[in-house]
């Protein structure tokens, strides 16, 4: 088992678990519920916004890429905390995952005006630790 110092799974408390149909209009309800839970925990606004945006991006990834916008499929988000106030979010979809190496740098010139391709990059920038499991169909994110 990994240690708390590693951002591992020791002494975690589940705060929220929600499952939504894979359609874009359902995503906001989960992001808002995460935000309300964090507000209740008195998480500072900046940290709360960063977590909520990362959750939003992970959910959108799950809906669009993991489920192909098929509302008969579903995406699950679990929010946990350890005793030291660290937040852990796990977003899971039923898809085959994706090749991380295929994610391009959105800051490269030819990508700047693209209308997509920034989600995974943003997650990495906003969170302290990010792990992809099951080939990318499950994303684990830590905020310290």
């Amino acid at each position: 088992m990994s240690s708390k110092a590693d951002g591992g799974s020791k002494d975690l408390r589940e705060l929220l678990q929600l499952t939504i149909p894979a359609k874009s209009e359902a995503v906001a309800s989960v992001t808002d519920a995460v935000g309300e839970t964090l507000t209740g925990l008195e998480v500072p606004e900046q940290k709360r916004l960063e977590i909520c945006l990362a959750v939003q991006e992970a959910l959108v990834n799950g809906v669009v890429h993991g489920c192909g916008n098929d509302p008969s499929k579903s995406v699950t988000c679990r929010l946990e905390s350890d005793g030291d106030g660290r937040i852990i979010i796990v977003v899971t979809d039923p898809g085959p995952g994706f090749n991380l190496a295929s994610v391009s740098d959105p800051k490269r010139g030819e990508n700047l005006y693209a209308d997509h391709g920034r989600g995974v990059y943003l997650i990495h920038q906003l969170m302290d630790k990010v792990q992809f499991e099951r080939g990318g169909a499950e994303i684990r994110m830590w905020k310290y």
């Binding site: 909520c52 939003q56 991006e57 693209a114 209308d115 920034r118 989600g119």
Partner: protein
């Protein structure tokens, strides 16, 4: 998301209220802007003062609209983005693509 559009001196001032993110918010703004561009408008000021968060879908829409208006000889400028919106736009490298203003008058007059 609430969207209110006013015209000032041949400039469309688009006031947004709420999160600009995938789903109804981005869809509504896309439709509003496509209708305006279709009607011949190419000068836009997007007021982001009441938009606490913009996700990657919202960013993608804003940069597409920026490119579209510039191709037509116009521009799309941002007014009073929140600290977090600025941080987000900077993180993905697109903040410098936009002209950003603190005051509506200055944003509108910049088109003159």
């Amino acid at each position: 998301m609430d969207i209110n559009v006013r015209k000032r001196s041949q400039v469309q001032v688009v006031q947004l209220r709420g999160q600009l993110r995938m789903g109804p918010a981005v869809d509504s703004l896309r439709q509003t802007m496509e209708e305006a561009v279709g009607a011949g408008d190419t000068r836009f000021v997007i007021n982001l003062s009441e938009v606490p968060m913009i996700d990657s879908s919202g960013i993608g829409l804003l940069v597409k609209l920026l490119a579209s208006t510039k191709q037509r000889g116009g521009n799309l400028k941002l007014l009073q983005p929140s600290k977090f919106a600025i941080q987000t736009l900077r993180l993905v490298g697109v903040l410098n693509l936009f002209e950003v203003y603190d005051a509506e008058d200055a944003a509108v007059e910049s088109f003159s």
